[in-house]
Structure formats: C-alpha cells, structure tokens
C-alpha cells in the first residue's frame, strides 16, 4: 500500500463534509439545543435530518443496503465533532445506529451481516442501540458483571445495564457481557422476553437524550447472535473505536464552550472594558483554545492509526483520558468566564459543563 502523506490538512472531501455538517447543525440546532434540553427530547425530524446526511450507512456495502463507500475513522471523527459542537444529545442519538451496525459490519459473521445490516439501512432513521455501561461503582468495560453463559445452542445473559440510549424504541441492541472472563457482544432483540426496561433515567447531562436502565433476566439469545460467532469478537478493537468516538464528541462540546466564552468575553464589559481585556480572563480563553486543538489532534491521531489498520490501543486510551479530563477543565472555564451568568440556564455553558462530564464516565456512546 502506498504510504499516505503525513498531514494536518483537511482534504477537499473532508472539508466539504465538515462544512456540510456544520451548516446542517446551524440550520437544525441553531437555538433549539436549549429547548431540547429543557423539554428533554430531541424532535424526531432533527435526528432524521442528520440521518439523511447518510454518513452511517454510506460505508455499508451495497449488498446490505448501504452505499459501499470507504470507511474512514477520521471522517467519522470530523463528523462527530461537528455534531457534538451543535448538541451532544443529538450527536449521540443520530449516530447511535453506527454503534450497532459498525461492529456487526466489521466483526459479524456473514449471516449476522445479512440479517441485521439491511434492517437499519433505511431512508428513515430507525433506532437501535448499545448496552455497555453498568450501574455500579468501579464499572469497567473490560471486566463486566453482566454475564453470558452458554446453554446448549444459546447464551443466557444476566446482569444490569444503564444508560442505554433510546432503548424504548430500539429494535435491537448490542449488549456487552462477559463470557468466561472474555468481554463479548451479543445482538439482542428488544422484544426478547429476558429484556426488562426500567423507567427513563434522569441524568446529570444530555437531558434531551432518552436513556434507560435495562435488566437482563435469564435472557436467552441464540448462539448465532454472539457477535463474530463462536470465536466471539475483538472487543479491544471495538473499544478503541468507541473511545476515539467519545474524544471527537468531547472536542465538539469543548469547542462549543470555548467559542461561546470567547465571544462573550469580548462583549461583556466590566470596569470600563471587555473582560477579555484582562489577562486572567484572556489566558483562560487561550488555554481553552490550545487544549481544544490538542484534544482534536489526539483524536485524529488515534483515528489515523485506526484508518491505517494499526493497533490504536494506547492512543485511543490516552486520547480518552485526555478528553475526559480536558473537557471538564474547558467546560468549567466556560462557566467561570461567564460568572453568575454562566450558572443560569440562559446560557449554554452550564449545559456544556453537565454534558462534558459524560466524556470520562461513559463508554461506548459513539464510534468512529
């Protein structure tokens, strides 16, 4: 394979996609993000409009109902950042099918691909979801308490999951469970009698995104629905992509907070001049600026490695650690720059602050 040029520059295609998503977000979200958050709902047509970009299904082969375009983790990172810049809830919701479809596309058996990919390669957005996080102290995606045990031709799943986005309307979910010490993924139909949905969750942030706790009680799934078949899947590779995806979202949320605080600090006058004319404020703005860039570059580095088919274990892990930490710092600064005005919900920085906490805590909410 011809070595690709080392470059920090967006290609024509990447720039066009970035601008297209940015424009869409501006048209669709504009000032609605606040309302979405207050009403705790994302209007279905918003999600549909993002879906119509076709980013998710574009990389699915034509045989399965997609457009068969090249799969590009970097392009996905660019798209996710722009979506999250508009609204984190919308970013997660509208790309949720990728969380379900990409692992199947990459690691599923032929039968799994044939059976499940076409279901969601549709002109209309159809929710499907993923259940990874568990409601417990010291949760860790590499050692899950949700267990799956083989019984005859089936697996029986037991355990509790939380923060399963759009679980109520999802037709299927990908469930992460431990199979004798090995993290695995299962394709589970929502109407499986072993799947018990709890009450919609109330969370610190991303109010607009519906999420549910899901309990699996002797939930029996055919062995054929274990992702990758008998040998299971490469869970490590799956984590690398979802971690990188979350970093892209962190970059978007952080950039939104940075830009809002930057613009506000130029307008807000105290002591006879814009607050940005004071170094203690200006230096926070400067720090936000280069940390946002640093986060994006770490994300792109991990995505570049994934795109080249390399192992990005270290890079995706460090990027997520950085993004988790820095998103908190940046969105905290965002509130601080606005002072009391940043604490009230009239300004979006308080929402960015709440949403931003999710980057470090959550796993498997987005993928590249």
């Amino acid at each position: 394979m011809e070595e690709r040029e080392f470059s920090f520059g967006l290609s024509e295609e990447q720039r066009t996609m970035k601008e297209t998503v940015a424009r869409l977000i501006k048209d669709v979200v504009a000032d609605n993000a606040h309302d979405m958050d207050e009403k705790k709902a994302i209007p279905a047509d918003f999600i549909q409009k993002v879906w119509e970009l076709g980013a998710t299904i574009s990389v699915i082969p034509e045989d399965f109902g997609g457009y068969g375009m090249d799969y590009s983790p970097i392009m996905n990172a660019i798209i996710l950042e722009e979506l999250a810049y508009g609204d984190m809830a919308l970013a997660v919701a509208s790309t949720l099918p990728s969380m379900f479809l990409y692992p199947i596309l990459e690691m599923g058996t032929d039968d799994q691909k044939k059976k499940y990919l076409p279901l969601y390669c549709d002109a209309t957005f159809k929710p499907c979801t993923i259940a990874i996080n568990e409601p417990r102290f010291r949760f860790d995606p590499v050692s899950m308490e949700t267990k799956a045990e083989k019984k005859g031709g089936s697996y029986v799943i037991n355990g509790k999951k939380c923060f399963v986005p759009m679980a109520k309307d999802a037709g299927h979910m990908l469930v992460a469970a431990d199979v004798s010490g090995k993290p695995s993924l299962f394709i589970v139909a929502k109407d499986n009698p072993g799947v018990k949905l709890g009450e919609r969750e109330k969370n610190l942030g991303i109010y607009a995104l519906e999420s549910y706790p899901v309990t699996f009680e002797n939930c029996e799934v055919p062995a054929a629905d274990m992702l990758g078949g008998d040998n299971g899947c490469n869970f490590e590779a799956f984590l690398q992509k979802t971690r990188t995806g979350l970093c892209a979202i962190g970059t978007g949320v952080s950039r939104a907070s940075f830009e809002y605080a930057r613009d506000y600090s130029k307008e807000r006058v105290q002591f006879g001049e814009p607050i940005a004319s004071r170094q203690s404020v200006a230096f926070m703005i400067a720090e936000m600026a280069y940390e946002v860039d640093g986060m994006r570059l770490l994300t792109w580095k991990a995505a570049s490695m994934l795109e080249a088919g390399m192992d990005a274990k270290r890079e995706s892990y460090l990027a997520k650690l950085f993004a988790g930490d820095m998103t908190m710092k940046i969105t905290d600064y965002g509130v601080q720059v606005l002072g009391g005005h940043g604490y009230v919900r009239d300004h979006p920085v308080e929402r960015f602050y709440r949403n931003g906490r999710g980057i470090a805590i959550l796993e498997g909410m987005a993928t590249v």
């Binding site: 690709r4 080392f6 920090f8 290609s11 280069y290 580095k301 892990y317």
Partner: protein, 400 residues
C-alpha cells in the same frame, strides 16, 4: 487529507538522531551539568552535522514562495524534520543541544535575513543572539542599546544579558535602536564579531539548569563595527514592519523550543516508565482509569499530555513547511509545551520518589532543564497573550 501516522521517513530521522543522542549526548549529560562553563569539546564533531535545520538558502529578490508546493509523501519538510530531530537531541541533553557549534539563534537570524555578502562573511560563523537587556525582557521592543552611524561605521553602546553561547560563539547578533523616536521601527540587528574593541563578555551566569549551555552578559562601549554589519536592510521602515519581520522569525523558532521541552519531558517519561515496569506494574492501556493505581493514572495523563504537546508542535512546524501562517499555532505549541514540559518533569520526579531527588539519575536534572523552556523565546505568559489576541482578534492595545 488528515493523516497523523508518522511517515517512514519521519521514523527514520527520529531513529537516527536518537542513536546519535543516545551515543553522544546522554553519556556526557551529567559531566557538563557538573562542569558549568566548560566547553563540551565532544560537540566539535557536530560542526559538520546539521541538526537545527539551518542552511536555509536566501530567497532570490522578488521570488514568491510557491504556495502549492507541498512536500510529497516521501519528502519531509525542514521544519518538521527539525522539530523531530530536536526532540531526540534534547532527549539526549538539552543543554548540549543548545551548545551545538554554529547552531545559535543568531545563525537562524542570519540564515533568514542576511544579504548575499553577509552570508559569505558570517555563514560559517557561530552566531549568538543578544536581545535581552537588564531593563528589557519580555518587552523586547523597549531595548535601549543604541547604534549611531559615524562615517562608515556603526558605534554601539549598551548592555546585553542572558546571551546563549556568549562565550563559545564567534559573532553576536545584537539588537540596538538607530532611532529611539521611531520606537520599534528603529530597532535593527547588527553582527558584532567577538574581537571588536569595546565589546566585552562581562560574566557568565550560574543557572538552575541547562548548565552545559553558557549564558553571558556583554557590554558594548563605543564598539565600532563596519557599516555593512547591519543585518539586512538599513532603512527605517515607516510602520513597525522591520520589527515585525524579526518577530516573525519567532514563529519558526517557537516550535523548536517547544520540541526541546518535548525531548526533555519524554526523557523523564521514558525513565519513569522503565522504573514503573521494573517494579512489576504492567502498563496496558486498558482498564478504566478508576480501577488502576493513582501512579498509573498520573503516568498515563503525563503521556497523554506529552502526545498533545508533540502534535501541537508538529502542526506548527508542518504549517511552516507548507507556507501557512502559523503565528497562533507556534505560540500554542510553546504555551502548551513550556508549561507541560515543566509539569511533566516535576511529576516524574514525584512518581520516582527518592530516585527523582538524587543526582544518581538524570530525572532531577530534567526537572531543572525543562523550566527554561517556559521562559526563553517568550515566556509562557507571553505565549498566552499571543494566543489570546489571536483567538479574540484583539490588538495589543485591547489586550495588554
């Protein structure tokens, strides 16, 4: 197209310079830390090896830099290759890198703006750079050293402090004003040979770190130099164009300093990793950071910040290679690398415990060395000022 996987060529440069640093600099790092002011004669062999980019050809009159001439995949731009090399060299030893013969800051200035004739005369000389004065540090536009034309000679007066390579260099590029009323526009740089009458090396500093690098004070008293020792053009430009030109060279040198911070911090991180792994802890980049020891988590965070420093630095250098204006990105890289280089080397000492306090290892030295990277070539605060003015679109009047 975005691709941040280093090319084979980049890896080759890194590996070969790392070998050099490992073989030539590391072994003598402690020696010249202890023997401050002694010239590291081992560095003489570097007279023939170009590490700091350098050798930049003077642009032909009226020749526009070609915009679309991007370096191809196999080629590697000078700036990027230089920051990669500097990181490796400073991984070996930063003080020694700063002492490489014929690679002073003055050489960079000469390479950038000298006339053909000056290239001939000074191209092969070791050139230091003297901007800072006792009363003029960050505010380099406020320098008071003067140059007055007397017939065919400039007569220079003033005091210059903190000059890197003061003792070892052959010539010094001295900043002085030829017209105080003109403010920054009156500031010019002059090439002063060390043996000129009235040019005296007054003293050498004793420093916290980078002790292998000599730092000194020069006093100029009625020092006479030929008229054509004025670097570049003599006319006082209407606005502050000339001064801006000089400041622009900082856009190229700041990523270099950032990469010095990078090299030192990586040395500390590599050593700390070695000790962590020797103790039986496996760094596997897998577990939820809540489920690992605080030592591991802190270490991972240092690594993540190191990677961020490097990417910001490489971006600024890459932009310079591609003729993109990088004033913002250059300052971002130095703001981040200067600060985090300091923090990382401090933290590594802490994680190492007593091994981080003893002179038996270099960790304590790296903590001392790194600190300068947040000070010279514009302090951390000055970098933040530049970044803030850029992103706020504020003038220096709106944000002082």
């Amino acid at each position: 197209m975005i691709n941040l996987v280093p090319s084979q060529k980049m890896n080759e440069v890194k590996a070969s310079i790392n070998n050099l640093a490992k073989g030539m600099l590391r072994p003598i790092a402690r020696k010249y830390d202890e023997n401050e002011h002694e010239y590291p004669k081992e560095l003489d062999m570097f007279r023939s090896i170009k590490i700091m980019g350098g050798g930049k050809k003077k642009k032909k009159e009226g020749e526009e830099p070609k915009k679309d001439e991007k370096p191809a995949a196999k080629k590697l731009g000078t700036n990027l290759s230089t920051v990669i090399s500097i990181e490796e060299m400073c991984w070996g030893d930063a003080g020694l890198l700063l002492s490489l013969p014929n690679a002073g800051l003055g050489n960079a200035a000469i390479a950038a703006v000298a006339t053909e004739e000056q290239h001939e005369r000074f191209g092969n000389k070791w050139a230091a750079m003297a901007i800072t004065e006792p009363g003029s540090g960050s505010d380099s536009g406020s320098i008071t050293a003067t140059a007055v034309l007397d017939g065919d000679e400039w007569v220079l007066n003033g005091e210059k402090i903190f000059v890197t390579c003061a003792d070892r260099c052959d010539v010094v590029v001295v900043w002085a004003t030829i017209d105080k009323k003109a403010g920054k526009a009156g500031i010019k740089s002059f090439i002063v040979e060390k043996d000129r009458e009235g040019f005296k090396l007054e003293k050498l500093e004793h420093k916290l770190g980078i002790r292998a690098s000599d730092t000194g004070t020069f006093v100029l008293s009625d020092c006479r130099i030929p008229k054509n020792n004025l670097l570049g053009s003599a006319e006082v430009k209407s606005a502050t164009e000339g001064f801006k030109g000089v400041m622009k060279t900082f856009d190229n040198t700041r990523p270099l300093v950032a990469s010095m911070a990078l090299g030192i911090a990586r040395a500390a991180i590599d050593f700390t990793r070695e000790k962590i792994e020797e103790s039986g802890i496996k760094l596997d980049y897998t577990k939820n950071p809540n489920n690992i020891s605080s030592l591991e988590k802190e270490f991972y965070l240092l690594e993540a910040n190191l990677d961020a420093m490097r990417l910001l630095t490489w971006r600024a250098a890459w932009m310079a290679d591609n003729q993109e204006f990088n004033n913002l990105e250059a300052s971002m890289s130095k703001a981040k690398a200067g600060r985090y280089g300091t923090l990382i080397t401090q933290k590594c000492c802490e994680l190492l415990g007593p091994l981080g306090f003893t002179q038996e290892y270099l960790a304590e030295k790296w903590m001392r060395d790194s600190k300068i990277m947040d000070i010279f070539e514009g302090t951390g605060q000055i970098q933040h000022l530049i970044v803030a003015r850029n992103v706020l679109e504020f003038s220096s009047k709106q944000l002082r």
